[in-house]
Assembly symmetry: C2
Homo-oligomer: 329 residues x 2
Amino acid sequence: MNRIAIIGLGQIGSSLGLDFRAKLRNVEVVGHDKEPTVAGRARKIGAIDQIAYTLPGAVEKAALVVLAIPVAAMREVMTVIAPHLQEGTIVIDTGSTKVEVLKWAEEVLPKSVDFVGGHPMAGSETPGVAGAQPGLFNDAVYCILPAPSAREEAVKAVVEIVRSIGARPYFLDAVEHDSFVAVVSHLPIALSVALMETAAGSPSWREVSRLAAGSFRDVSRLASGSPEMQRDIFLTNRDTVLYWLDQFTRTMQNLRSQVAAGDAEGLTRTLEHANEERTKWLERRVGDIDASTPEVPSMMESATTLFFGDRVTQIAKKAMSKDKKDRQP
Amino acid sequence: MNRIAIIGLGQIGSSLGLDFRAKLRNVEVVGHDKEPTVAGRARKIGAIDQIAYTLPGAVEKAALVVLAIPVAAMREVMTVIAPHLQEGTIVIDTGSTKVEVLKWAEEVLPKSVDFVGGHPMAGSETPGVAGAQPGLFNDAVYCILPAPSAREEAVKAVVEIVRSIGARPYFLDAVEHDSFVAVVSHLPIALSVALMETAAGSPSWREVSRLAAGSFRDVSRLASGSPEMQRDIFLTNRDTVLYWLDQFTRTMQNLRSQVAAGDAEGLTRTLEHANEERTKWLERRVGDIDASTPEVPSMMESATTLFFGDRVTQIAKKAMSKDKKDRQP
């Protein structure tokens, strides 16, 4: 049995547990959460095989350690587990921002382990075990950001794990990542929250809210996300978030001027442009990412049955050499 | 056979047609659209029984006329149909703003017909017949705004029609309506559009967009709505929309200050407050509206089988007197 330790059993940690247990053979998933009752719920839904009540106990003998915790907790947890990690262990995280996380991994984790940062672009607004679901990552883009020191074998093993849960690996660097997600994830959070606050601040909110339907529900959806996670996002990606908040405000001011001027033509132009851009985005979504992913050799069929062993890198090496043989003419 | 005329076969008009034909007996639904091909598609999906190629032809002999067209087209269409409306016809609309529509109805429609404004709080972002679906209004709040001159019987008939498609009638006045929907419908449109424009304006949008997932999809959803409808909303509800755009910008500036200051406590407070307010809204949604709807006597079981006749008001009167008898001890 190969041990996977999941630290943090919120929506992402628990969903990964469900998928790992369903898709990977010969693995044992050990889960830890700072709230023991959360770990109990995660075990109840089948997200983990057993509970570890301490961080050192969780990572002991683990071939893979998954840090699925808010970004602000990352450095401290790394510090606590560092002395207990076995040589050759792969450590991955699922944090929403990556520049700081990769810096901390470099500073805190021992050189004998491989850190491969990650960020699955999936999830609903329901935090915790209640939001966990099997197949959550199916077809989702999964950002992979290896530490500079991470061995190629470890990176390949992570790619294989990501593929095993149906996600689509995507490589980019941490600065790119944080600036990209500021636009497509963090700015939308700010808008949802500010919409909810604006609406609830209306003196007639109780009556007004009766008319709130699908439009309001969707655009305010992210206001129901985890306040802790959102706070950490804003604090660890501050400058980029501020930049995009300002860009957004400028765009809103343009729209406001068109409304104020009763500029039917200008408004039509803006509304049609936004409409077209969204259609283009929806159309190219799927094809684009697969075409742009840097080639990482697939570790063939057998990979999902035994893609990491007690010493992950050794198995990965074997798989790679088999893979190379397979590709010879 | 009682004739219903639906003018405008977009998402709302076609969906109403589907439901009328499924839920009401002895009715014939005649549809008109300025684009004959649209009317053809509406008939193909079963939203209408037959196509009328002219406005006068559509409303001829109709007991109920439904104006499901963009607000900006409302006055002109009313002017064209006015001389062709039979005495006692009920005219309803489904426009997104109501102050101007009710003013136009008062100015343009003959006194011999009853105008009852309406606004179903339902719909997806897919415009046109493609977005039509049976049951679209099920459980939706349906605002009803009778013209001051509308007879009570006509209002009751409209209530019954609204109930027949599963929607929940809600009475409020036009000024209230327009100010309420500015918060929960029009402001979200502006945010979706501005988000889409901001994101697409990023120099790296092609790469950035690969990471756009559920958060971005939901918050930008309304940017895929009908530009024509959205333009009319902004133009006919201008002052209220501007007021709420400014309120929103103020809220965003507060959030921005907290991010800029790295104010973890303040951010947590804001994020938790928005989260709680959204939970409260979701919880009270359903119960609240039914409790607050002013009582309108139900027109009992038989109503849905023959709730309007050739002369709607006569049938309605009979139903009402029966209703009163039923309620006597």
